[in-house]
Amino acid sequence: MSTLEKLTEVMREVFEDDELVVSRSTSAREVAAWDSVMHVTLMISLERAFGVRFKSGNVAGLKNVGELADLIDRLKAGG
């Protein structure tokens, strides 16, 4: 399963929307419930799902799902 596919699974669970379709360009503008609180909830869920640990400063400014997926891949690679 690719990072984007697994990320989509987690996002569907966090935002309680089984129909949610996610691409690299998806941002908070397209997901109504994606506010600052749910952003952190998503980050915590992604930490568990991917076995990574985010630094707050790295996730506050993420613009879209693509940037998030790239960050996860970097952390998984030990970057």
Partner: protein, 301 residues
């Protein structure tokens, strides 16, 4: 476009996840919010210039807010604050210029961009500042960004203020904001540990401001004793603290409002008024309600 409108537009364009929180803060009292935001942002513009203040303030605010929510999520998982040592926080945060600069500008913006802190700001302005005596000598303990004390000086042209903070960043930022607000000649900021009772004046202050320091300490009683020591008999203090509200440098975990009240009463202060506020939105399935509490205190004669 006003500065407040420019701030809302900047957040909507660059950080749409934060727009909802801004709307909630303004909804507390739209007219008051427009006024408070404009006043605080005019000082920020005075410091950063007409082209720089939006990015500087909003980016710091977004990172700071994310840090706070992240800390709260980890607190929910662990059941306790992540820090327990003031010295460790001092080494990692307060003495680090770059970290503190972002931190303090972020906190500065929360005064009106977090809904519950907007409520607390109005409590401070309407219930504390409005009732200060004539020509008050104000002491601000740990002014941080300095916004609270500068607000006092802006509202009261007859007031003077002395601020004490252990962070060089605080001294620099508070001084720059006071200058931008045009009250710099009435404000003096000194690099000093305000908890060192032996170096602080006794019974000299007509008012003390101490906003969100108490939860950063290992021994909050020492701070309250210091506030009581500074105040003239019958003079008033404004104290704000956090309750089950985590941050990377929060140490003392107040669980209930009564703990803050009791610690003040135990040190010769009468609790005149309190306000406990909380955010409009919480982490899903949270067990803790993060609160901020303001207390107006009076030194018993």
């Amino acid at each position: 476009m006003t500065r407040a409108q420019a701030l809302i537009a900047y957040v909507a364009e660059h950080h749409p996840r934060s727009s909802r929180g801004l709307e909630e803060a303004r909804a507390v009292n739209p007219e008051a919010w427009d006024g408070v935001a404009e006043q605080f942002l005019s000082w920020a513009e005075g410091v950063w210039g007409p082209d720089g203040w939006q990015a500087r303030c909003v980016e710091a605010f977004v990172v700071f807010s994310n840090d706070v929510i992240m800390s709260q999520a980890r607190y929910e998982a662990d059941g306790h604050y992540e820090s327990s040592s003031f010295e460790a926080c001092n080494a990692a945060v307060y003495s680090q210029r770059e970290v503190m600069d972002d931190y303090l500008w972020g906190v500065f913006i929360t005064n009106f961009c977090w809904s519950h802190h907007m409520e607390l700001s109005l409590f401070f302005r309407d219930r504390f500042l409005a009732r200060l005596p004539g020509a008050p000598a104000i002491v601000e303990i740990a002014p941080g960004h300095g916004g609270w004390g500068v607000w006092a000086l802006s509202n009261r042209a007859d007031a003077r203020l002395q601020g004490f903070d252990i962070s060089p960043s605080s001294i620099a930022i508070a001084s720059s904001i006071a200058a931008a607000a045009g009250v710099g000649s009435r404000a003096t900021y000194t690099l000093r540990n305000a908890l060192d009772l032996a170096t602080m004046p006794t019974a000299s202050a007509d008012a003390v401001i101490c906003s969100f320091l108490i939860e950063h300490l290992e021994d909050p009683g020492l701070l309250v004793a210091n506030i009581a020591n500074l105040l003239k008999p019958g003079a008033r203090a404004y104290l704000a603290g956090a309750i089950t509200a985590a941050q990377v440098d929060h140490i003392y975990e107040f669980r209930h409002e009564s703990e803050l009240v009791a610690i003040c009463e135990a040190h010769g202060l009468r609790v005149c008024e309190t306000l406990s506020v909380h955010p409009r939105r919480f982490l899903p399935r949270a067990r803790f309600l993060p609160r901020s509490m303001g207390l107006i205190l009076e030194k018993r004669g």
